[in-house]
């Protein structure tokens, strides 16, 4: 791991409600360098909340507290909306599960990417178009000029996700938060999209926070993995060491997924222990 880009200590997110407050994230501490960090958990584990908190996107009335939350040496705690806008899209970016909801359906792909360029880089229109085309090419879209002119609904799921990645990366952010970027895609397309992300980390030195429910993908793709449960980070482990995970939940998750290589008569079920959250 090279220099640390993100440093988070005791990050908590709470939602006050009528029946008491809900703890969406409990004292999460981790750091992220120029690497692929996987965040794995089931629904309600707080993995998406973690990504959103880093981008300052926790909706009202959610409350974010932390001892420390830094991005490239700059504290994000109590950052103003102007400060967030300067960072978001320019230096940190996010891709979501389904490109359908993140791309504007009535605007051409090219125009949407160009606009991002104009907004964040302040480049000229011609330069922005050149960058947009180069980016579409970088995400391995075969015919960038054609896709540039198309509307989101004209693209397949895999192509849409690539266009989305292109739009998010055209400003060359230092940090990319990918929330289930391949869950809506077919397995054969999944690998292509992962390879694009892989290239970006290796060649451009981008930091990647990869949020997923799929332990199989995370373990084969990421360098390190955070295992989350009930808003808490239960374990941080190198992906290569997952087979020797210490926490019973991590081991149970690994055993619960039916595997092609290790057939079992009965799948192990997860027996939850309330003590995990203490």
């Amino acid at each position: 791991m090279t220099e640390t880009l993100v440093r988070v200590e005791k990050l908590s997110v709470t939602y006050p409600g009528r029946r008491g407050t809900t703890l969406a994230l409990r004292n999460a501490s981790f750091s992220l360098g120029h690497e692929r960090l996987g965040v794995v958990g089931e629904s309600g584990s707080g993995k998406s909340t973690l990504g959103r908190a880093l981008l300052g996107l926790i909706p009202r009335p959610g409350i974010v507290t932390a001892d420390r939350m830094e991005f490239a040496g700059e504290s994000l705690l109590g950052a103003s909306e102007a400060q967030w806008q300067r960072l978001r899209g320019r230096r940190m970016s996010m891709i979501m599960q389904d490109p359908k909801y993140s791309l504007n359906p009535v605007r051409r792909i090219g125009d949407q990417i160009v606009e991002t360029c104009l907004l964040h880089l302040g480049s000229t229109r011609r330069d922005a178009e050149r960058r947009a085309l180069a980016m579409l090419d970088a995400v391995r879209i075969r015919d960038p000029d054609h896709v540039f002119q198309q509307y989101p609904h004209q693209l397949s799921g895999g192509m849409g996700q690539r266009a989305m990645i292109a739009m998010m990366l055209v400003a060359e952010p230092d940090l990319l938060i990918a929330d289930e970027p391949t869950s809506a895609l077919d397995v054969t397309v999944q690998n292509d999209v992962l390879r694009i992300l892989d290239d970006l980390v290796r060649n451009r030195g981008m930091a990647l926070l990869f949020i997923s429910h799929n332990l199989g993908i995370v373990s084969s793709f990421c360098d390190r993995v955070l295992i989350m449960y009930g808003g808490k980070i239960l374990e941080q482990i190198a992906a290569a060491d997952l087979a020797h995970a210490k926490h019973p939940y991590t081991r149970a998750l690994l055993a619960a997924a039916p595997s092609l290589d290790h057939p079992q008569a009965t799948l192990a079920t997860v027996v939850r222990d309330p003590a995990w959250l203490e």
Binding site: E42, S43, D186, V187, T188, D192, R195, P258, P263, L267
Partner: protein
Amino acid sequence: MAGMIEVADLRVSFHGGSKAVHAVQGVSFSVAEGESFGIVGESGSGKSTVLKAIAGLVPSASAALTVNGRPAAQRRSKADRRQMQFVFQDPYASLHPRQTVDQILREPLAIHRIDRRDERIAAALAEVGLKPEHRFRYPHQLSGGQRQRVAIARALILRPPVLLLDEPTSALDVSVQAEILNLIVGLRKDNNLTMILVSHDLGVVAHLCSRIAIMQAGKLVEVLSAEDLRRGAAQADYTRKLVAASRGFNRAQPAI
């Protein structure tokens, strides 16, 4: 011996506006009594459409389509319907939002005029591992896994010989998926069910099924045993790619 389910040259086309989409283009297979048969494919491969055509939910054309020796016509009688039941992918959409679990399970019994309904409902809940206290809850008061259990109970309460499952666990968390898969394995054994399972997840299909059909773009690529799939004895290139892709990220794997 003729199979429990015989499908010969099944074709399904959808006519949307000016162009027709041929979702299933001549699929044939046979499933023996008590066997569990899996269909794997990516989105748009037509795997779910095959299942819906067998259930009679989409209009289809075929050389032959029989279930339990009865020809499965386009118009199905009540008795035909009792031959097979269906479990849908999304447990959030497959239960009536304004009916309690009790009402949902009572409906098939009422339709087929079956007696001792209270007793049967209680037994069906127990069979799928739900407690009596779940009986009068509404779907929105249940978790995803519990809803899928209700959907399975509803399918089995008519005691059909054939169960069709369309991605029954893909909307669920891994740990919940494990519980539901274990439940299905147990129920199949206890009731000697013939099953067809459709999924995009090779792991799930190989876990539940002994024979597996691979589908791509409306056609059967190949049918092979779960053993052969595990051993890497697949004949078709596409199957091998699918197996490689499902093993996780592979930097060296070429684009398709």
